[in-house]
Amino acid sequence: MSERLALDAKVPDGPIADKWDQHKFDVKLVNPANKRKFTIIVVGSGLAGASAAATLGELGYRVQLVTYHDSPRRAHSIAAQGGINAAKNYRNDGDSVYRLFYDTVKGGDYRAREANVYRLAQISVNIIDQCVAQGVPFAREYGGLLDNRSFGGAQVSRTFYARGQTGQQLLLGAYQALARQVAAGMVELHTRNEMLELVMKDGRAVGIVVRDLVNGDVRSLSGHAVVLATGGYGNVFYLSTNAKNSNATAAWRAHRKGALFANPCYTQIHPTCIPASDEFQSKLTLMSESLRNDGRIWVPEELGDERPAAQIREEERDYFLERRYPAFGNLVPRDVASRAAKREVDAGRGVGPIKNGVYLDFADALAQLGHDTIEERYGNLLQMYERITGEDPYETPMRIYPAVHYAMGGLWVDYDLMSNVPGLYVLGEANFSDHGANRLGASALMQGLADGYFVLPATINQYLAPLLGSDPVPTDDPAFTDAEREVTERVRALLSVDGSRTVDWFHRELGKILWDNCGMARSKESLEKALAEIPALRDEFHKDVRILGEGSSLNQSLEKAGRVADFLEFGELLVRDALHREESCGGHFRVEHQTEDGEALRDDEQFAYVGAWEYAGDLANPKLHKEQLEFDEVHLAQRSYK
């Protein structure tokens, strides 16, 4: 590992509250008649991608939108349940832009870039306005005004929601705005197409290579700029709450072409998921954090207590979050709640058939508020739980356990959301920028939409304006034909291994290595173990994977193989990052660095920086770039939710 120069995020000068407005004034503009002369490629159709493509189209840019889904509306943003934060202060409970900013920096364990987070908090209020104007059916009061709920890591109610389907409704809003631009001819859709390479020429991103998933055609798209909105890498752990197809290939391919990958070790383990039931488990299902508003989390106090929950009396229960964190109680941030649950299960107080969960109990809320209110608030979630487990959460407490959920790390971007590669922008979960080492609930939707609706459309002009008059690089340029050849060769190589093990087998093995050694608790020893095992597994993959069928038709094993091949490379970087970060912060918990009562212990002297890795031709030896984090507004302190 070698270190390089400090990174410049190009944060504008001036007071934090004025930076964004001043910057919007300072960036170059492209006049309306000239916008149509620019082509922008957007990869991914989730909240960030769809909102960016729709807004760029409205502004008059030509947009090419690529998604591997059969329709843009299926992107995994759709599965977000609980809500979206905004500093509206509609509750009159003391909320403000500054408080949302403060909560987010603190919640991220002081590892986020202040200026970005402040901008996010400012824009949050515009997002709600925008979404309501589009017809997003947010929950309402009887008087017709918008309703709010509370979420972890905050003591105000600032979360807007649409039942337990907030992500779905926000995505449909963005998708509908996108559909309007498709009909207007401003956005061209490329569905069931997967980006497999970033194309560079003269040091700039000039296009991508895609594979048509239906007929296997490999072809190029050329543009003035490339926008990646391709989501997070949680599926590197195999079992996660991510959709089955979510992957890191687009980001990883960009990384291999020079884009820096920042803070990959910041992975969020979500506290409220349904525990795994058997070896066939293909994914884990999240139960929205909003359930912690009314549900109480507990385990039996007695070790090895196997009685059903109903027989365990009140005084024999340990409401461990309320006991350890009286101020925030069941609403502590996700990383804190997850680790607390792990501690109870590791100590042998776990519940359920394989003792791998803790109770989330609605009995008190049902008694206080009644069945109807609980059903109205959480009906679809409780129904989903019943479907999956066969247990009725209105009768017996739910069982929950933490699971991999969100990636705070991602491609490094500057204040304009441009990576270190000129012309390559990265939005939403795919970038690293706003959540530090831990994301607060209901903030992912906020960031995806802020990036897509408001930030990128304002900042991309700065890059495009000087390019006026230049045509996109033609796709018969060697830059494109070489990249196409690389992709074709990679596909051919995967198909020709003809080994004995399936792609899923390798994916599961990789997931086990990462979860056991680089999951909720990490140590030097476990990380070094993972670093020995991952390259060996990767070699075995390329010698022994078995992919049937051909490259010239719909071949889901082949699609998965390409993604798992990239995960096998990315996983190693994740572990290296975790090993180098000799501190605990947010989702990254190194057992060597904890306080006496088991809380994460940061080292601000040495590690208050963004670790951004450069691929330098050797997976075992990436180069580290550092962006020093400055905290002018928020006072660095050990987080306390007591």
């Binding site: 299926r74 509206k88 306005d129 059916p137 005004l145 559909a179 459309p457 071949n555």
Partner: protein, 253 residues
């Protein structure tokens, strides 16, 4: 538990398809229906046979990707449940289960159980939106929406666009999907300016692709989100009204 699967196999859009029978004798009742296919596929690969292609993604019943006709019913026997959330505990040990792709001319088969549902996107592009370019919105609380109205809009907006309604319909009609999309917007105050134009444009686009509704109600029974066919009645009402309103609101064209 043991299940026998009779699965539709078709190598490509223009290939001839046929059923293939497979036994899985060590299935777990806690498995989801898609996990059963994961297990089957692992075995097929081990035997050197191509795995069954099927669309799936979130496996939480919200993305709308999964699309299996199970024993002749879209998403199988469980009411209000998408295939990904159907568990084997709902079947008897030794069950014989027939699995096909959605059957509708406007959803052509791509391979095995995967179909092309892009006709739904065309319906949305025809008018399934509220024109509100980014940045033009007023403060959110300036638009009052009665809770009942918002709840009804949400009931419609819960549609996941899976296509079960079309697959269930003897006419392959898409009325339930289209009505849900139209009424989500038509019920809200924000949706009023484009209401009549939206209704006509979306219904006309739907008619280009799909069959006609003859009030069987199969769609409602198959819908994994239990969307009510009342929305179809509201859509029909709006469509008729639009024929008159359009003349007065000719400026909308």
């Amino acid at each position: 538990m043991r299940v026998t699967l009779e699965v539709w196999r078709q190598s490509g859009p223009n290939a001839k398809g046929a059923f293939e029978t497979h036994e899985v004798d060590d299935a777990s009742p806690d498995m989801s229906f898609l996990e059963l296919f994961d297990v089957l596929n692992e075995r097929l690969i081990a035997e050197g046979r191509e795995p069954v292609a099927f669309d799936h993604d979130c496996r939480e019943g919200i993305c709308g990707s999964c699309s299996m006709m199970i024993n002749g019913r879209p998403h199988g026997p469980e009411v209000g449940t998408a295939t990904c959330q159907l568990h084997l505990r709902k079947f008897d040990d030794g069950a014989h289960i027939k699995v096909e792709p959605w059957r509708a001319r406007s959803f052509p088969v791509l391979k095995d159980l995967c179909v092309d549902r892009s006709a739904f996107d065309r319906i949305i592009e025809a008018g399934g939106y509220i024109t509100a370019p980014t940045g033009t919105a007023q403060d959110a609380n300036l638009i009052l929406v009665p809770k009942e109205v918002s709840d009804a809009a949400m009931d419609a907006a819960a549609c996941i666009g899976c296509g079960a309604c079309v697959a269930a319909c003897p006419n392959s009609a898409a009325q339930l999907f289209t009505a849900a999309k139209i009424q989500h917007l038509n019920l809200l105050p924000q949706g009023q300016p484009e209401r009549w134009r939206r209704t006509v444009d979306m219904v006309d686009e739907m008619e280009r692709w799909f069959g006609s509704c003859t009030n069987h109600g199969e769609c409602e029974a198959a819908c994994p989100k239990e969307i009510s066919i009342d929305f179809i009645a509201l859509m029909n009402r709006d469509y008729v009204k639009a024929q008159f309103k359009q003349r007065r609101l000719a400026g909308q064209r």
